[in-house]
C-alpha cells in the first residue's frame, strides 16, 4: 500500500512487546510487507496479552458460558442474565492492577470508569459497583499508601458519578506487596430487548467518536504495561498516567443511554485498553466488515499528535458508535444536550480492512482478521511445582493460640484480613439510586431492589470473593471454595445464583508452575460453575503479576449475581433477637492448615486443602436460602476467615447482641473454634425453625442462644468469654489507618 511514514524494524516490534516470531506473522499477514509505525503500534497492542488473551483464551473456552438465564455471553463488553419482568442484569469484573501500582488513586478511579463503560456499552444503566483489592502486609508503608489512595480513587469515581458501591473485599498478604490487585465489578440493569451489541454493520454507516478529547494518556499504558512484569522500566511508562474525569463519564453515560433509548445506534463500544485501535478493530471483526478511520477528524487535547498516538491513545471517557447517516443530526443533537462532544471519524466499509487515514493520506491498512484473529494463541506448559512457590507468612502471633482462646479470637478480629472494613467502605456511597436494601456490613451479599411487579418486590444480590492464599495452597479446590463461598454469601441474603463473572489474576503464564496454577484454577472454576448451575457471563484476565520477588498468590476473583423473590425478606448477618437459638449448619470440616490463624502463626501453606462434599454444601446453601426467604431465620452468616469463633463474633457485633455457645468436643477445640473450610453457616432463629432445616442430608447442630452483651463459647475445656466492647475494639483495628 501507499502508507507513508518510517518503517520500523523487528527491534521496535520487540520493544513494543511482540516476539520475533509474532513479528514475522504480522509481516506475513500483510502479504510480506513490513508494517509501518501506525500498523506496528496497532498490531503490538492488539496482539498483547491484555487484548488478545493469547495465553488464556484456550482455557477460557473450557468454561461453561451458556444455558441457565444467560441472555448475553462472553465476547461482548459485558455478559447479562435474565432477571424476569423483561429485565436483564449485565455485569463484569475487570482488573486495573498495573496502572494502580503506578498511580493508585488514578489507577483505581479509571479502573472503575473502565468497567462502568463496559456496562453501559451494552446499553445497561450501571446500578452497582463492587471492588476487590489485594495489598501487601500493612506494616509496609507502600501498602498503606496504595490502600489509602486506591480506596479514595474508587470512591471518587463511583461517588461522583452516582453509582452506589455496594460491596467488595480486601486482603493483605506479602505476595501482593509489589503487585497490588485492583479489580472492580459493575452491575447494570436493562430491558432485555434493548441490549445492544458491538458488531459494526452496514457499509456506508458512520463511525462517531463521542466523549472526551484525545490526548497522550496511557500511550504505552495499560495494554503494554499489563503485558510485561513491572520492573525497572516503570519510570519510562509513567508520564502517560490516565486521569479519570467522572463528571465527563457521567455525561457520557447519560448520553449513551439516551442515544439507545431513541434507537439511534447500530452498535456501541467503549474505548478501553488500546483505545480506538481496539474499539474499531473489535467492532469490525464482530460485524465481519471493514472500517475507515480518519485520525485528522479526532478531536485532540494536545498539539502535534502522531497518527499512531491517536490510534492507541487510552484517554478515558470516550465511546465509539456506528450510526446510519440519516441519524447523524439527531445523534449530534443528543450529544449536545449532554454537553458531550461528538465527531464523525470514519465509516463502515465492505473491505474487511481497517484503513487509517490522515485526511487524504492513507497511513495504515490492515486486514481486520489479521489484527483480531491471527494473533497466535499459545498452549500453556503446566507443571506442578516441586517445592513450595511461596514462603511462610511472617509470624505475628507467638502463642499457638491454645493458651488463651479469647486472646486468639481478639488477635483474629484485629487481623487486617478479618477486621471491620467499615473504615474503607464508609468512603463509598452505597445508597444513591435508592435500590440498596442491604448495604456493606448488613448481610454477606449486597441486595438491590428491582422495580416492583405489582405486590411483588423482586431483587438481586451481588457478591465478590476470592481468597488467594487458599488458591495458592490448592488451585483447584481453592477456586471451587471461592465460588462456593460466593454462592454461600448469596444464600445468606436469600438469593440463588444466576450468573458468574471472574477476573483471573495470576503471575507469568510462560512459567510452568504459574501455568499449572492457572489451568488448575480454571478447571476448578468450570467444575464449580457446573455444580452451582450458572454460566460464566464474562470476565477478565490479568497475567504477569509478578516481579523479582516472585508471583502473587493465584487470585481468581469471583463475582456472582443472584435473584431474590422478595427483598422484604432479604437476609441479615447480625443476631437480632434475644433468646433466638443459634445453629451451625452444613458439612463444616474445619482445618487449621491454610487458615487465618495459621497465617498469624507464620505457618507454611499446606500442599492441598480438604475436599468439599459439594452436594452437601449445596444442600446446606439451599436450606439456608429457603430459611431466609421464608422469614423463619433471623440471621444467616457463612463461616470463612477465622472460622466459627470469628463468624459468631461477627454475628454478635453486627447485631449488637451477645451469645452463649457450647460446642461438643468431637474435634480439638482450636480446630473447632478457628479452623477453616467451606460449607458452614451460623444461623439464628426459633428452635423449631432451626430444627426444620435439618434432614435431607443437611447437618444442623444447635449450639447455643442469643443473649446478653458478651460472647461466651465453650469448646471442650476451652472457654472464650468476651464483651461486645472488647471485640468491637479489636475489630475496629483498620480505623487507625484512616485517622
Amino acid at each position: 500500500m501507499s502508507a507513508v511514514g518510517s518503517i520500523p524494524g523487528v527491534e521496535q516490534a520487540i520493544a513494543l512487546g511482540l516476539t520475533e516470531a509474532e513479528y514475522e506473522l504480522v509481516v506475513a499477514s500483510l502479504d510480506g510487507r513490513a508494517p509501518n509505525e501506525v500498523e506496528l503500534a496497532m498490531f503490538s497492542l492488539l496482539w498483547s496479552e491484555h487484548c488478545s488473551y493469547k495465553h488464556s483464551k484456550k482455557l477460557l473456552r473450557t468454561l461453561p458460558s451458556s444455558g441457565g438465564r444467560l441472555v448475553l455471553g462472553p465476547g461482548e463488553n459485558a455478559g447479562a442474565v435474565d432477571v424476569g419482568g423483561g429485565l436483564a442484569v449485565a455485569f463484569k469484573v475487570e482488573s486495573h492492577n498495573h496502572p494502580s501500582a503506578v498511580e493508585p488513586f488514578q489507577g483505581a478511579a479509571t479502573g472503575v470508569g473502565g468497567i462502568l463503560r463496559d456496562i453501559f456499552a451494552v446499553g445497561a444503566r450501571p446500578i452497582a459497583v463492587l471492588d476487590s483489592l489485594r495489598f501487601g502486609e500493612l506494616d509496609s508503608e507502600r501498602s498503606r499508601y496504595l490502600l489509602e489512595h486506591a480506596v479514595a480513587g474508587i470512591g471518587h469515581y463511583g461517588n461522583s458519578i452516582g453509582v452506589p458501591t455496594v460491596g467488595g473485599e480486601v486482603y493483605f498478604e506479602a505476595p501482593y506487596e509489589h503487585n497490588c490487585l485492583i479489580n472492580a465489578m459493575c452491575v447494570g440493569l436493562i430491558e432485555t430487548e434493548r441490549l445492544i451489541r458491538s458488531a459494526a454493520s452496514g457499509p456506508g454507516n458512520l463511525l462517531v467518536l463521542f466523549g472526551a478529547s484525545t490526548g497522550r494518556d496511557g500511550i504505552g499504558g495499560a495494554s503494554v504495561l499489563a503485558s510485561a512484569e513491572l520492573g525497572e522500566g516503570d519510570e519510562a511508562k509513567r508520564p502517560s498516567v490516565q486521569i479519570g474525569d467522572p463528571f465527563a463519564e457521567k455525561k457520557l453515560m447519560l448520553c449513551s443511554l439516551d442515544l439507545l433509548e431513541r434507537g439511534l445506534l447500530v452498535a456501541l463500544q467503549d474505548l478501553g485498553a488500546a483505545g480506538l485501535t481496539s474499539a474499531a478493530a473489535e467492532m469490525a471483526s464482530k460485524g465481519a466488515v471493514g472500517v475507515d478511520i480518519d485520525v485528522a477528524r479526532v478531536p485532540l487535547r494536545e498539539e502535534g499528535m502522531e497518527p499512531f498516538e491517536i490510534m492507541v491513545s487510552e484517554s478515558q471517557e470516550r465511546m465509539l458508535c456506528v450510526i446510519e447517516p440519516e441519524a447523524l443530526e439527531a445523534v449530534l443533537g443528543v450529544c449536545e444536550h449532554w454537553e458531550t462532544a461528538a465527531s464523525v471519524i470514519g465509516e463502515v466499509t465492505a473491505s474487511g480492512l481497517v484503513r487509517v487515514l490522515d485526511s487524504d493520506t492513507l497511513v495504515g491498512e490492515m486486514p481486520v482478521a489479521a489484527l483480531v484473529d491471527d494473533c497466535p494463541l499459545y498452549d500453556l506448559d503446566p507443571r506442578a511445582p516441586l517445592e513450595p512457590i511461596y514462603g511462610a507468612p511472617q509470624r505475628v502471633l507467638d502463642s499457638s493460640g491454645e493458651e488463651d482462646p479469647g486472646e486468639t479470637l481478639l488477635a483474629l478480629l484485629r487481623s487486617p484480613n478479618i477486621a471491620d472494613r467499615l473504615p474503607l467502605f464508609e468512603q463509598y456511597d452505597p445508597v444513591v439510586q435508592s435500590r440498596t436494601v442491604r448495604r456493606p456490613g448488613q448481610s454477606d451479599a449486597a441486595v438491590l431492589a428491582l422495580p416492583a411487579r405489582g405486590q411483588e418486590r423482586p431483587g438481586i444480590a451481588v457478591a465478590i470473593d476470592g481468597n488467594g492464599r487458599r488458591v495458592a495452597a490448592d488451585p483447584y479446590r481453592g477456586t471451587i471454595e471461592a465460588v462456593l463461598e460466593c454462592a454461600a454469601n448469596l444464600a445468606c441474603a436469600g438469593a440463588e445464583p444466576l450468573g458468574l463473572t471472574n477476573c483471573l489474576n495470576f503471575g507469568n503464564p510462560e512459567k510452568p508452575h504459574i501455568a499449572w496454577q492457572l489451568s488448575e484454577s480454571v478447571r476448578g472454576l468450570a467444575d464449580a460453575c457446573r455444580a452451582i448451575g450458572v454460566p460464566v457471563v464474562g470476565g477478565n484476565v490479568s497475567l504477569y503479576n509478578e516481579g523479582a520477588e516472585g508471583p502473587i498468590y493465584p487470585t481468581p476473583v469471583i463475582g456472582l449475581v443472584g435473584e431474590l423473590p422478595d427483598v422484604r425478606r432479604a437476609g441479615a448477618l447480625g443476631f437480632c433477637s434475644e433468646g433466638d437459638r443459634i445453629a451451625l449448619v452444613g458439612p463444616f470440616a474445619p482445618e487449621i492448615a491454610g487458615s487465618e490463624l495459621a497465617r498469624l502463626g507464620g505457618r507454611e501453606l499446606p500442599g492441598s486443602l480438604g475436599e468439599l462434599d459439594i452436594p452437601r454444601v449445596l444442600a446446606a446453601q439451599r436450606v439456608v436460602r429457603e430459611g431466609v426467604r421464608s422469614g423463619s431465620l433471623s440471621s444467616a452468616h457463612d463461616i470463612a476467615e477465622g472460622g466459627l469463633a470469628v463468624a459468631l463474633a461477627e454475628c454478635c457485633l453486627a447485631g449488637g447482641l451477645g451469645a452463649e455457645i457450647a460446642l461438643d468436643d468431637t474435634v480439638k477445640p482450636l480446630r473447632a473454634l478457628f479452623g477453616e473450610g467451606g460449607g458452614g453457616f451460623v444461623v439464628s432463629g426459633g428452635e423449631g425453625a432451626l430444627r426444620a432445616l435439618g434432614g435431607g442430608g443437611v447437618s444442623v447442630r444447635i449450639v447455643g442462644s442469643v443473649s446478653g452483651e458478651r460472647l461466651t463459647i465453650w469448646s471442650g475445656d476451652a472457654r472464650i468469654e468476651l464483651s461486645l466492647e472488647r471485640m468491637r475494639e479489636a475489630h475496629g483495628a483498620l480505623r487507625a489507618l484512616f485517622d
Partner: protein
C-alpha cells in the same frame, strides 16, 4: 522562612477542573480566558528551605502527574 509551593497538573496531563472553569467563565460574562489550569497552593514556614525540593518530590506534589515550583518569601515570583 516563609515559602510557597505551587503545584500544577503537568503539561499534557488532563485537568478536568481547569476545563470546567474555562467552560464556566464565558457564561459569567468573562470572555477571552484560555489555558486554565487548576492546581494546589501550599504555604509553609520552613527552617531549612534547602529541603523544599525534596519535600515536594516526596509529599507535597505527585511528580508523576504534577509539576511544582517553589517561591521563597521576597524572592519574587
Amino acid at each position: 522562612m516563609k515559602a510557597r509551593v505551587l503545584v500544577r497538573p503537568k503539561a499534557g496531563i488532563l485537568d478536568p477542573q481547569g476545563a470546567a472553569v474555562e467552560r464556566a467563565l464565558p457564561a459569567l460574562g468573562f470572555e477571552g480566558v484560555r489555558d486554565v489550569r487548576v492546581g494546589r497552593l501550599i504555604e509553609l514556614e520552613v527552617a531549612d528551605p534547602a529541603r523544599l525540593e525534596e519535600m515536594c518530590e516526596r509529599l507535597l506534589a505527585n511528580p508523576l502527574i504534577e509539576d511544582y515550583e517553589v517561591l521563597l518569601e521576597g524572592a519574587g515570583g
